[in-house]
């Protein structure tokens, strides 16, 4: 009897809970938001091949809930035919640990990287950033002036899915080093070299005037022998070699992040890992932003009136392609003056 009484009380309580809980169907489902204002703000992607390229800040999230899921679908050539070169997986070099410029050997650097299979053009799963891996090259990927590729992106979360159609990928031909003197579209050289990034207090041997950047031309040369190295060479107006030791106050050990320096009267050579710089991270080998490697050569001499003149010439640069590279400083108009006045 007692049980019956109490169970009837509990029954009523349960009934009311059930009754009110049934009202929950009035409330909208709890799901993430996929806002109608979310969209790609960049529709045309033009990476330069032969280097890792990351396209950031290309998606406006708007009123959508993050994280969203992004997927490239229907990658095709502009003509509509499939593009296996971009949908198949290739082994690419990825970083496992951060590069910070303190590595003591090539092996230590290589230990931080390894090969992984990736599609050459990818989208980051939750951020919508696009990546172009350096493995892609113009031998098998269509480059401008070709119209390139067209693809769609599927964006989804628990609130639904949306498709963004006909985004364009129009890569440029490789430019193995920067600053480059080749045309962006054709890859043809428009010049024979570039001026130095920085110079000062270098006097000409003949006239004694201060040289200008226009008096110097810098050329990037690569030979196809096996190995990865970077050499610096100085030549005068007649292509006669200038002894690098003349640049006596140069910090040779920290000139580039290279190892096994070989310095002779002809040139100075380092074993390096490519690309240079390895990551856009500020180190003692790079510019302050970390975007480019810097190689500065210095010497001191006694100037007229017994003043010390600290001379400097230097180059900020990137090299993306592996191989044995030589950077030549050609003093086109005059030899620099090393002797004291």
């Amino acid at each position: 009897m007692n049980n019956k009484k109490y169970s009837s009380l509990i029954g009523l309580v349960l009934l009311s809970i059930l009754f009110i809980t049934a009202c929950k169907k009035n409330i909208p489902d709890e799901r993430l938001s996929l806002g109608s204002d979310s969209q790609f703000i960049v529709n045309n992607y033009q990476p330069i091949l032969g280097r890792n390229t990351l396209f950031s800040d290309n998606f406006y999230v708007g009123s959508s809930s993050v994280p969203l899921n992004f997927k490239i679908v229907n990658m095709r050539r502009f003509t509509g035919e499939p593009a296996p070169e971009l949908t198949e997986f290739f082994p690419v070099q990825v970083w496992k640990s951060a590069y910070d410029g303190t590595e003591k050997s090539i092996a230590e650097i290589e230990a931080k990287r390894k090969l992984e299979n990736h599609q050459l053009f990818e989208i980051r799963e939750h951020s919508g950033q696009f990546l172009m891996w350096s493995k892609a090259n113009s031998n098998f990927v269509k480059v401008q002036p070709d119209s390139g590729y067209v693809f769609d992106v599927e964006v989804s979360n628990s609130g639904g899915r949306r498709y963004y159609k006909d985004l364009k990928l129009r890569p440029f031909k490789e430019r193995p080093f920067e600053p480059s003197y080749s045309d962006l579209t054709t890859g043809q050289g428009t010049n024979t070299g570039v001026y130095p990034s920085i110079m000062g207090n270098i006097r000409g041997e003949k006239t004694g005037r201060y040289l200008n950047p226009t008096d110097i031309e810098i050329q990037f040369k690569k030979n196809n022998a096996p190995g990865n190295s970077l050499s610096f060479k100085f030549v005068d107006t007649l292509q006669q070699v200038i002894d690098p030791n003349k640049f006596a106050t140069t910090d040779w050990a920290n000139l580039v992040h290279g190892f096994n320096m070989v310095k002779n009267s002809d040139s100075v050579k380092y074993d390096v890992a490519y690309p240079i710089p390895l990551a856009p991270f500020p180190t003692k080998y790079t510019t302050s932003s970390g975007g480019q490697a810097k190689a500065y050569f210095r010497y001191d001499r006694q100037g007229f009136g017994n003043v010390r003149e600290s001379a400097l010439v230097g180059m900020n640069f990137n090299i993306f392609e592996q191989g044995n590279w030589t950077i030549i400083f050609w003093f086109k108009t005059e030899r620099p003056k090393f002797i004291n006045d």
Binding site: K5, L9, L12, V13, S16, I17, F19, I20, T21, C23, K24, N26, I27, P28, D29, E30, R31, L32, S33, L34, G35, N52, L54, S56, V61, S63, S65, V66, P67, L68, V94, W95, K96, S97, A98, Y99, K112, R113, E116, R124, E125, H126, S127, Q129, L131, W133, G159, L278, A279, P280, F281, P282, S288, S289, G290
Partner: protein, 1069 residues
């Protein structure tokens, strides 16, 4: 109508005269001729515990006397009269005196909640026939602790009424919410961000008092900010009734969406005038304050931090030597160990006195209550004083005519220090000063200390409320009641900053506001019953219609003179060079509002078994747009009293006392916005062609369709009482939908306006409430032990957002603590960074496989910064939600709910002979608090070159060396603290569970032996003692999980809740 008002006014004059006469002459009884005496009957009235004083003795439904303090009485009555003995809480006993001259009456406890009279829609009903959800608390249960606002005593006593004592500031009341969240509107930013207060509507003796406008915590607004509810002394409160669902509040409709609290003040009900004195003396003690690092410890810590974290040893040495307060340890100015908190906090001794004179019978009664309350705050220069005089009288010469009038006057005085009452900002900054600085003086640099302590701050509120109510029964069962009320409220604030702390110029601020409100209600009521064959009332009808008009005006003026002559001559205003040194004018919260309503209600019951209650109300308000028209609020409710069924008769005898099921549905409203939102704001816009022009403000576009917020409630309830009412309980489940929530949305710039108000947001609360009261000892026992437990579970859901979007994020520019509103989920979510420990080594930081760069923090300006931005060992492990290896706004997560999910309370009451003990506790479960106070303690280390107070960190597991798995990141890396911001407010590291159980008070009472006290002419003397805020059980690491804002943020500038010790003296003459 017009005539009626004239009558009202005419009568009022007489009432005052009569009342005064009665008071002056002590001529307060025997106004009417007594029944001719034939014999004298004496006797005693008692219960199990002894004689009951003040029992009403009635003859033919007329009071002829009361018992004295011993329960004894002597009345002169006709020979064969039948006397009725009635007393609240006891069953009425009828005894015939035929052939007797001495009676011994035993009254039996009547715990039947159903017979309790509830007020619903301005008409009294018994609980048995009311369908709405309401809880009534007797004024006797609200006396244990002296509080400025009597509503604070309701904490933990009513299921579904959530009161949080979120400030200890004297005169401020805690935040109140009935049945969950009613608004999602947030104003302000940083630590001043607050949720729009949604206090219930208070109805004091039948007159609505809105506590939400202009008084809200005195917050974000100038002026004294004293709530009108804080001006009612708790000793004058007879009972408080909390109305929770739409059916109960339907007839208070136009402002009842946040629930309604009815406060009934005392009335005279004893033929012999009763004079009651109540005095309370209380000590407010300072709670435990935080420990700080002082003197040489602070200096060495700063030096160690700079040496360890700077770029190089010599650079660090240079910085140290270039910073005098660190390096110059022999300088007397910097060679101190000042405990700043000691200058702000004090233990205070306070008192409150209340004198109540009441007497009369149903035909004429009166009450005069004089109250004085003074509380000094535990922070210097804060306090609250209140003086009140409250009077009421009722004159009912016969059943047809009734006149009731009140005059209530109150003076509230508040000192706010240098804060706004809720927060004491000056103390927060001053208290966090470096201990190296000398103690406060005119020569010291810490002006906020003197600002807080020596500023003259004087705030006064004067509140005058007059009501007159007239009832006339034209024909039997048809009556007209007319109620007229006038409220006048003025607030002044005077603030004076002496020259020495205000840049050599003293400054004067004067604020002055006037609010007046007129309220009128005319109610026509008809009661009708059809009797069945047995002669009992079978079909009972109650119908009434009323109209309601109200009008209020508010205006506040301010002058500020920044160049006063000197500290002693505070005026006249001279030396006014320009508008910068002398400011003044009317504030923009100038407001006039009008509202009118028509309502009707119909109630039917059959033999009190089946009850049907329906009402309908039409509301027009000047704050709604003209296109919105009249808002219609219907409500309907049914009730089934199972115990009155004939088939239950046998059960009722055995164990069941009552059981009933209630179901109700209805809508109520809450005005939102103001007249400017509806019609736009017109400004003086300069000259055109030599003529002054007036144009509309382009800030906010008018919205002529602005609607009041609409609250629709569905309520299911079940009441029961079993085992001779030793166990009673109520269980309720509700669905509460709030539509038309007020908000603004940005307009396209082509519209010419910046924004427009909108009513598109909607909110749903679903909850369950339970109350269980048990009398643990048998009814025959001499001792009584009552335990009452209640609890409420509430879940809120956001149902719609403006523009049909599914989520909106409110970023906070100051603290970064964003709030996510997401449709279908809880309405206010903490949208913050997810912290999962600390990086023990650099190699633990994730690396972008494409670039070879570590995970990094984006700068505040959106740039990616340099090498310092990359995370390293000792930095917090923030989750990179979108996987772009950059920490920014897209990595925020919905981490917690700032609202309370369960609240409840327990009250234990024990009485034995002359002793009584009451213990009350309250608690909440499930609330995520952001501990900003702790975060700012760590942030004090962000810059060792700033003179701020430091708090010892030894009790925290902070990261110190590479490889260490710590809980708290490295606080000392000040070079990167502005970039990585390891102790940012917006992270889960500082989100804690704010569940707590608080032992609110323990109260003891002892009634002195009456034989002893009678010798001194005192009828009843009760001595008592109470400890308030006894202890708190919580896992929360901050000082007090209750002392947080409605958004669940613990701010170090909060006013701590004191622990009070009370001595209580109650004398009845």
């Amino acid at each position: 109508m017009k005539n009626l008002k004239e009558i009202n006014l005419l009568n009022m004059r007489y009432i005052y005269i009569i009342t005064l006469l009665c008071l002056c002459l002590g001529f307060n009884q025997e106004l009417r001729a007594q029944t001719p005496a034939k014999k004298t009957v004496t006797g005693t009235v008692s219960d199990n515990q002894g004689g009951i004083p003040s029992v009403n003795i009635l003859l033919d439904r007329r009071a002829i006397g009361t018992t004295n303090s011993e329960g004894e009485f002597a009345v002169s009555v006709p020979d064969n009269a039948v006397l009725e003995f009635s007393f609240i809480g006891y069953k009425t006993v009828k005894v015939s005196v035929a052939g007797k001259t001495k009676l011994t009456i035993k009254l039996e406890n009547d715990n039947n909640n159903l017979k309790e009279v509830t007020v619903s829609g301005y008409v009294n009903k018994t609980k048995e026939t009311s369908v709405g959800s309401s809880v009534k608390i007797s004024g006797k249960d609200l006396q244990a602790v002296p509080v400025a606002s009597v509503t604070d005593m309701l904490q933990g006593k009513v299921a579904g009424l959530n009161i949080q004592q979120n400030t200890g500031s004297p005169g401020m009341r805690g935040s109140m919410a009935i049945r969950g969240l009613s608004s999602t509107s947030i104003s302000g930013s940083g630590n001043d961000a607050y949720l729009q207060p949604t206090s219930p509507l208070f109805v004091v003796d039948g007159v609505p008092v809105d506590d939400n406008q202009n008084f809200s915590y005195g917050f974000q607004s100038a002026g004294p900010g004293v709530s009108p509810i804080s001006l009612i002394p708790q000793q004058d409160v007879e009972s408080i009734e909390v109305l929770k669902d739409a059916s109960a509040t339907a007839l208070y409709g136009s402002r009842g969406a946040y629930g309604v609290i009815l406060i009934t003040t005392k009335r005279g009900n004893s033929k012999i005038p009763v004079i009651t004195y109540n005095g309370q003396f209380f000590v407010s003690a300072v709670p435990k304050l935080r420990s700080v690092i002082g003197g040489v410890d602070e200096r060495s810590l700063r030096i160690a931090q700079i040496l360890a974290s700077d770029t190089s040893y010599y650079h660090a040495l240079g910085l140290i030597n270039g910073t005098p307060f660190i390096a110059d340890s022999l300088n007397a100015y910097y060679n101190n160990s000042t405990n700043w908190q000691s200058y702000f906090y004090r233990t205070t001794y306070n008192q409150t006195h209340n004198l109540n004179i009441a007497g009369g019978d149903p035909s004429f009664n009166y009450k005069v209550n004089f109250g004085y309350f003074k509380q000094k705050g535990i922070q210097e220069n804060t306090g609250f004083d209140r003086s009140t005089l409250r009077m009421n009288m009722q004159y009912m010469p016969n059943q047809k005519f009734k006149l009731y009038a009140t005059i209530n006057g109150a003076l509230g005085k508040q000192q706010k220090g240098s804060g706004n009452g809720l927060f004491n900002t000056g103390i927060a900054t001053g208290g966090a000063s470096s201990s190296l600085l000398p103690s406060p003086s005119q020569y010291s640099a810490i002006n906020s200390v003197l600002g807080a302590v020596t500023t003259d701050n004087d705030n006064k509120t004067i509140d005058l409320t007059n009501t007159i109510e007239l009832k006339y029964e034209f024909i039997k069962n048809l009556s007209l009641t007319s109620n007229f009320n006038y409220t006048f409220n003025t607030g002044t604030e005077d603030n004076f900053l002496p020259a020495s702390i205000n840049g050599d110029r003293s400054s004067l601020f004067a604020y002055n506001s006037v609010k007046n409100a007129v309220y009128n209600r005319n109610l026509l009521q008809y009661v009708f019953s059809i009797k069945d064959k047995a002669g009992d009332d079978a079909h009972n009808f109650l119908a009434y219609v009323f109209n309601e008009t109200s009008s209020s005006n508010f205006k506040a003026d301010v002058i500020k003179n920044n160049k006063v002559v000197n500290d002693y001559l505070r005026g006249p205003i001279v030396g006014v060079d320009d508008y910068l040194t002398s400011l003044g004018g009317t504030l923009d919260n100038f407001n006039q509002s009008r509202s009118v309503a028509f309502a009707g209600s119909f109630q039917y019951n059959y033999k009190r078994r089946y009850v049907l209650d329906a009402s309908y109300r039409l509301d027009g308000s000047s704050s709604s747009g003209p296109d919105a028209g009249y808002t219609k609020s219907p409500s309907i409710g049914v009730r089934w009293n199972i115990n009155n069924e004939s088939f239950m008769a046998s059960q009722v005898e055995k164990w069941l006392d009552y059981a009933s099921i209630r179901l109700s549905y209805g809508t109520v409203l809450q005005p939102s916005g103001n007249v400017y939102d509806v019609y736009g704001k017109y400004l003086n816009l300069g000259n055109y062609n030599g003529t002054q022009t007036v144009g509309i403000s382009s800030g906010r576009s008018p919205n002529t369709n602005l609607q009041p917020a609409k609250n629709t409630t569905l309520n299911f309830a079940f009441d029961f009482g079993i085992l001779k009412n030793r166990i009673t309980g109520t269980f309720e489940a509700y669905y509460k939908q709030t539509d038309n929530l007020f908000g603004t949305k940005v307009l396209a710039n082509t519209s010419g306006f910046g924004e427009i108000t909108t009513n598109e947001e909607a909110l749903v609360n679903i909850g369950y409430e339970g109350t269980l009261t048990g009398s643990l000892l048998p009814n025959s026992s001499k001792a009584r032990l009552t335990v009452s437990v209640n609890g409420a579970i509430n879940h809120d859901y956001l149902a719609a957002l403006p523009n049909g979007v599914r989520q909106s994020i409110r970023f906070d520019p100051t603290t970064g603590q964003a709030i996510l509103k997401s449709v279908g989920a809880n309405a206010l979510a903490n949208f913050i960074y997810n912290t999962k420990g600390v990086y023990a080594n650099n190699s633990d930081v994730p690396v972008d496989p494409l670039t070879g760069l570590r995970y990094r923090a984006r700068n505040g300006d959106g740039s990616l910064g340099g090498v310092l931005n990359y995370f390293r060992a000792g930095d917090p492990r923030y989750t990179d939600v979108n996987g772009d290896y950059i920490l920014d706004d897209y990595d925020l997560v919905d981490a917690g709910n700032s609202q309370i999910r369960f609240s409840g309370g327990v009250t234990v009451d024990f009485r034995y002979k002359n002793f009584s003990v009451q213990v009350q506790g309250t608690g909440i479960l499930g609330r995520d608090i952001l501990n900003n106070a702790l975060a700012s303690q760590f942030q004090a280390f962000n810059n060792p070159f700033v003179l701020s107070g430091l708090v010892p960190l030894s009790q925290y597991d902070i990261w110190k060396s590479v490889g260490q798995n710590a809980v708290y990141p490295n606080p000392y890396d000040y070079l990167r603290s502005s970039i990585v911001n390891p102790y940012r407010f917006a992270q889960t590291l500082f989100q804690e569970d704010g569940s707590y159980f608080k032992l609110n008070y323990i109260s003891l009472g002892y009634t002195l032996n009456q034989k002893f006290t009678n010798r001194y002419g005192m009828n009843r003397v009760v001595l008592g003692g109470t400890v308030n805020n006894v202890f708190m059980l919580t896992n929360y690491s901050g000082p007090n999980p209750e002392n947080v804002t409605a958004l669940g943020r613990d701010y170090s500038g909060g006013y701590p809740n004191p622990r009070t010790f009370v001595f209580n003296l109650n004398i009845e003459f």
